[in-house]
Symmetry: D2
Subunit: 309 residues, 4 copies
């Protein structure tokens, strides 16, 4: 049971970067919008942030990318902070067992999405946050700026416009849930807010640092509390069971950390009480997770022994 | 982030037992076989075992009960120890997103069950272990005797007979997977082995101690290694994402520990590197998990802060 | 094998009307929009039209009602007349085996609806007709006016507006199919056209006469040909297998005629080569078909022996 | 609307045989048991029987083949004759909308199969008939001998044995329905009876003549009544909506007759009040229906105008 006592994450990151450089088969970038299709699977960056915000990085760890579904974690945390348990009357917290856009379970379960990390669930969480704040995407951006310390962090308007132009499936999900009265924001407004969130540009450094509140059991960068200890545990639990589309079981098995991936190629992960990570590489596997990203996190927990299991 | 430093688990267990005594609504016992239907939801026992096998208990912690699906964890560990990665060609490790007996996903996924803890998956794991050992149920019993130190631990032949008499649904699953060549043991033999495993009688003390190898990262009670550190992590991960039927997300959210429940009312849970637990109370919720058992584990992780998140 | 040789349908209609007057349990009107919820299950009308357009009626056979899904038959016939076999690349002709709004099969079958009579299929047929004519709802209205000889036949703008206000589920279906490129008309335009069609007001007399082309193997009221003999057979076949939501098997079993129902309480039916029928009563059964309407058609085929079987 | 007045079916059959001889792409024989896999798609036979039992044939119309699922029609008729409406409490009469072996709908619908012609439904009908007669397969054989006038008609024991050896999926279906108490015969007995029925060998001539009672509205070859007029209509209706697996809509659309196919390559069809047909050719399409068989029936109804629509 020898676990490395780390003075610094730098040597581990260097080792991982070397191994990833030799990784064959890096998957393919998402192709449903041009901005993502242009992604190059050879890109790779990784950052680890200590509880105090000290950040270590390797590769392109300071290069901004499209965060996409990774932001669903922060939107969930904000909505939970605003309305607490009521949120769970509108969205479940069970793994979906189906591909991430599936309408099937939504129909069987009367418009209540299985969890906040499938698209349908994230639309519901955005709807809740927008009701509570009047500006869901603005609230998210402001939060990420504050937590990352990067005041320049912002939406990519071209990406948001491109998502909107290819947004029929999310429009279908939103209208479908509206037919069950589980969406109250007008659908076009909701989609605008949702796609703006997905379009946020940030780097591995930004996200590793901004995720710190989940390793600190709910405490924000400025020392104030966003979530109760129990709520922080809950967000981590939902990430572990639902954070990587229909590969959550495999991710838990290989990596063993709460994590959330996005089709831009980023994955964030949390070692509760210890540190937070963000890795990025645009090549995805068949289930929508970054190939090099999962491999890097797998190596990280294997080398350091820092899995939750 | 104050986490209790515990000299002993006794005070915590006493507190929990008091709270559980006042718990309203304890669910209903499983009713598909007479032996289980006779269970009384007022029963309650709980045990915690330290890494060295020291065991603390409260309530009816030494009273034997029908272990049922809890044994699926040990069968999985034994099969994994015997054949390693090959096992995963025959069974997946993703949450099912459906009730535990579902044939639906099995059909969509060509006879490969989603994970080892739904009935279909446990039948496959039993098939593998029986091929490898020629005596799956015997191998399981011997393992549990050795790990628990209880040489009297055994099958309950009446329960096994009763399960067989009500075994049409498991027979359907086995024949269905055989039609995909994912079961090779003759179906009647396989069902006999499977139901014998389910029928094992053990106490909270027995199971808390016997589960220790998962907290010790793969090391058995006698100091030998059953699983690699990586395999032990994998079993814990599968427990967390798939161990409590279609309530795995909720269990992770509330309890935050790898756990496995059975319709006899038992739940085992693991705090990796720290301790193992077993709680028992026969009243089940709508998803098949012990009501008092989940509540007790929820209290345990809340009081001690010993969640993996 | 004595089949009645009928000089006139009047005695049969009188007998049926008497029996229906004594029918207990007439179902409940559709309640998803106020205009339909106000329907009174005690209303009943029935009309039979000979091949030459002679029409016999009983009860409120000249009272206009909301035609709703009954119009899907005429829209299909018009689209088929315009583009022939190409239509079937965009919509199937198999029974759905699921409730009429189901998204499930649509997802499994990549955006191609099972048949033209489920909502998804009717949206596709409307999309095709709108592409071909630039005015799908106008083409339908003009056709029904010409075939029924009733120049006053028109949309009910209040009903159309009410459908639009409750149109989230159809919007979901349309966006979903648009995501598979199986809808090309902008969704708001398509929904306007679709709901206008549903809103058409007509009487049993109007519809019995207007359906004559299907009994005349494709020949319109003015003697010109709308459909080939083969196409007319095809429309009748699709009505028989798919015309009464997920009760098509039961309708074929009880009535044994090609038929199409609507949630306004109307059902049209065809005796190929012999006559056409329309019956109306607003009380629906659990599957969306008029209770008195099905009973009346059941009696008609039993008394006259005029089933296709 | 010129419909041929036929003195004899011989010229039509000759025309069809010529066209079929030139048919490219005849599909592939069923391959799940060796006896069927040996079938040669170049075989072709067709027979038409008048109401009085006069039979016309072409090609290999007197050559025996494995009847397979075609016999489900006769078993249904016998069970319906024995117990009437009660039968429909155990099996539905709606199209399945899914492949013919599907367990999915069976699970959603609590062990009640959708219709008597999917395997699950035929197992239920066999169970009913066996309860009522004590010898389901014997009753079927005797009935077919009497109706066809062929006393040598019998089971093929090799085929029955081969079906049994590959019977895991049907065993799964039977056990699954038994778990819902919708099967009461012991599963091994039921499967024996079921597979014996499937194994019956008969020719196009035998089956065309034996099906006559469905064209005669329930009257057997000896002039006695098997089914009421209403029941005969019902069997024809179920054939039309459910008789050709998940291609029932397409079969109705192309052929427009009640029909039932089997994986041995046979299809029977009924022109109520006029004649019955049997066609055979072992090459199947992707949905399990004889390619040349469907083509021949399509031509028959097109040439003669004898569709029910």
């Amino acid at each position: 049971m020898a676990i490395m006592v780390l003075q610094s994450f730098r040597p581990v990151l260097d080792t991982i970067a070397e191994e990833i450089a030799n990784l064959d088969g890096r998957g393919r970038p998402a192709d449903y919008i041009p901005a993502l299709a242009a992604g190059d699977p050879r890109h790779f960056g990784m950052a680890v942030a200590d509880l105090d915000g000290t950040v270590y990085g390797v590769g392109e760890w300071q290069r901004p990318f499209s965060t996409q579904s990774v932001t669903k974690v922060y939107t969930l945390a904000l909505a939970l902070a605003h309305e607490g348990e009521i949120l769970w009357e509108h969205v479940g917290r069970e793994p979906s067992g189906n591909p991430f856009n599936s309408l099937v379970q939504l129909e069987y379960e009367n418009g209540i999405p299985r969890n906040p990390f499938i698209n349908a669930g994230a639309l519901v969480v955005t709807d809740r946050l927008h009701r509570l704040t009047g500006d869901a995407s603005g609230a998210l951006r402001d939060f990420l700026r504050a937590e990352s310390g990067n005041d320049g962090l912002d939406f990519d308007r071209d990406v948001a416009a491109s998502e909107t132009a290819h947004g029929d499936r999310n429009a279908a999900l939103a209208h479908f849930m509206a037919s069950y009265d589980n969406i109250t924001t007008p659908v076009p407004t909701l989609l605008r807010e949702y796609f703006r969130q997905c379009s946020i540009e940030a780097s591995c450094a930004d996200l590793a640092v901004a995720t710190g509140f989940l390793a600190r059991h709910g405490i924000r960068a400025d020392g104030t509390r966003l979530l109760t200890r129990s709520q922080a545990k809950q967000v981590n639990a939902v990430m572990l069971t639902c954070g990587t589309y229909d590969a959550a079981g495999d991710f838990a098995y290989r990596v063993g950390l709460p994590g959330k991936s996005g089709v831009g190629g980023a994955i964030i992960a949390v070692v509760p009480g210890r540190c937070t990570l963000c890795v990025w590489s645009p090549g995805l596997d068949a289930r929508g997770n970054s190939v090099a990203g999962v491999a890097a996190l797998d190596r990280f927990t294997t080398i350091t022994g820092l899995s939750v299991f």
